[in-house]
Symmetry: C2
Subunit: 329 residues, 2 copies
DNA sequence: CATTGGCATGTAATCGATTACACATTTCAT
DNA sequence: ATGAAATGTGTAATCGATTACATGCCAATG
């Protein structure tokens, strides 16, 4: 492996000059610069990033913490992040918490020790230890998906998105709507979306029944199972629509409905949230809400870059969404 | 930021002893060890990885190079890789070439300069400069998806998978099969799959016509467009089945067929490759081939770990696959 | 009792970069 | 002509860890 010293020797200068030439800092004669660059070309020399990072305290690496590596949402966000960061010469150090809150905290520390320049967290929950850890590591930090106090957060407007979706159902004539949510550990998905649903239903005179309210775990299977439970518990007085807080659960619900011979949307309307690629190609195509995840990733990366340049950035950002009306309603 | 020196001072030992305690190397008295560990706990000290890596030449980071961050195949593979590596305390440094061959090479060098311990490349093409670069960086290296000479490669058995799929179509009574492939830049997908198709068709008396052979670009849209072209060019004597080399293109083709009122599979059978989650939920569900991408990722990671431990590993590995028969045939 | 070897710890070199500071030379304004 | 400013280069310290080598102690061995 060639080092800066090798280059210096071959170019007959000190390594100081090589460093200056490479980083465009200080004065270097045109002559020396050319000589150095030529040798750099020839040898394919690349500065050792560990050494550089040790000295400068910057690594050109951004840590990204995901709840799950294999969901479309995560992938899209990472894609957006990467697009922006790669352009600026940053790399992504990826970690996957597998939805484990302990790991979330552990990884924040780990990334710090790995000298990342900043961290983007796709947050799924909010708790004091997490906030404390983020404060401790004292790095440019960005959260996506949950509103973390005193942390720059990009949040989806879950409340209004959910309210719009519910409203739409009601205005299409559905008053009896089943709901498939998730655990309240996840404030955005588990609480906000449900709250908006309940608020709108109440305001607009919809019918809410306890046994029409299911709780899944984000998976397609859980959507299927919850739908089954709801219909079995309902008997004759069944809901005429079902609102699942994620596309995957909505698609699970659709599967069960189709199996049981219900026609969608005539017998039962179905809606989800997320605009997954699945939602577009299932039959009938699923009405859903697009959260523009990729754009969220891009914006997060841009904000992080601004922070790295010591620009002041606001603390809260609300992301936009779009209702996509399709054939399932 | 606390360093090893801070710990040493507070524990009244030299940093050598702290290092030994932390790495379980050499002798450390039980007493000293306890004192050190206690302070480490209290301060939440984590060794600076840049310094460590500079000295030891190992970073605990594995570079992963993807052709595209946002495909299901990539995601599954990365997921498998991460599962295995995380367990061993490795992190993933992610790069996305956006299908650019230049970047592929650039990133290999970059990862080297970042001191990664090894590289896993999801390869999409094979060329001399690539091989040369891999040889140059001289790192534990693993390729997935293409057979790179003199590089440990995990390859999908594209030829036999494609042959099986074609055979299946023929034995279901389809002799007139359209084919939607991709550019020959990609040996595995662009050449092997087509070659197997042609070989089987010839052997089994299938009908191949030039205007039944399309070339897409992996996207759903391109599947749609190619299907349109093929049917328009065919007139009355149209194919009775279409084999697209990826699920996404198959789904695009299905979209067009459905739009035009063809019944699947009665009027036209459709098959793809990849076992995407889409394939399961489109209507009718798509017959496809599962390449077990996640397992491929796991195996790649395991092999890389073996290499890191200086174990000898073979150069070529053939991955298994599974034909999934669904309703589109 | 002298010697050997295990245990515990410390000193200082080292990894490969950046950078404060010093020094020499050239340029330029007054 | 002269001092100040600009230009070009080098010396050596530094970042935070690991590790070869040295040293001292103590118990066991013959």
């Amino acid at each position: 492996m060639t080092t800066i010293n090798d280059i210096a020797k071959r170019a007959n200068v000190s390594r100081t000059t090589v460093s200056r030439a490479l980083n465009n800092s200080g004065y270097v004669s045109e002559e020396a610069r050319k000589r150095i660059m030529k040798i750099v070309e020839e040898t394919g020399y690349m500065p050792n990033q560990s050494a550089k990072s040790l000295r400068t305290k910057r690594s050109g690496v951004i840590g990204v913490i995901l709840p799950r590596l294999s969901t479309e949402t995560s992938t899209r966000v990472v894609n957006g992040i990467n697009e922006v960061l790669a352009k600026e010469g940053f790399q992504i150090l990826l970690t996957d918490t597998e939805l484990d809150k302990k790991k979330e905290i552990e990884y924040i520390r780990l990334l710090k020790s790995r000298h990342v320049d900043g961290i983007i967290l796709l947050a799924t929950n909010v708790n004091d230890e997490l906030i404390q850890t983020i404060r401790d590591v004292d790095l440019p930090f960005l959260a996506i998906g949950q509103d973390l106090p005193e942390v720059t957060s990009l949040v989806y407007d879950d409340y209004h998105a959910s309210a719009d979706l519910t409203n739409m159902l009601i205005h299409k004539g559905h008053h009896k709507i089943a709901f498939i949510g998730v655990s309240r550990d996840d404030p955005s998905v588990g609480i906000m979306r449900e709250q908006a649903f309940r608020d709108v239903m109440e305001r607009e005179g919809g019918v809410i029944k306890d046994h029409w309210m299911g709780t899944g775990d984000f998976s397609i299977d859980s959507g299927y199972e919850e739908m089954k439970k709801i219909l079995r518990a309902s008997g004759k007085n069944r809901p005429r629509a079902v609102y699942a807080v994620t596309d995957r659960m909505a698609i699970g619900a659709m599967e069960y409905l189709k199996e049981q011979g219900y026609r969608i949307p005539e017998d039962m309307a179905v809606v989800g949230i997320g605009a997954s690629s699945l939602s577009q190609y299932v039959s009938p195509s699923l009405t859903t809400i697009d959260y523009f995840n990729k754009k969220a990733g891009q914006q997060a990366a841009e904000l992080l870059l601004a922070k790295l340049k010591n620009e002041k950035v606001e603390e809260k950002f609300e992301l936009t969404y779009r209702l996509i009306l399709r054939d399932s309603v």
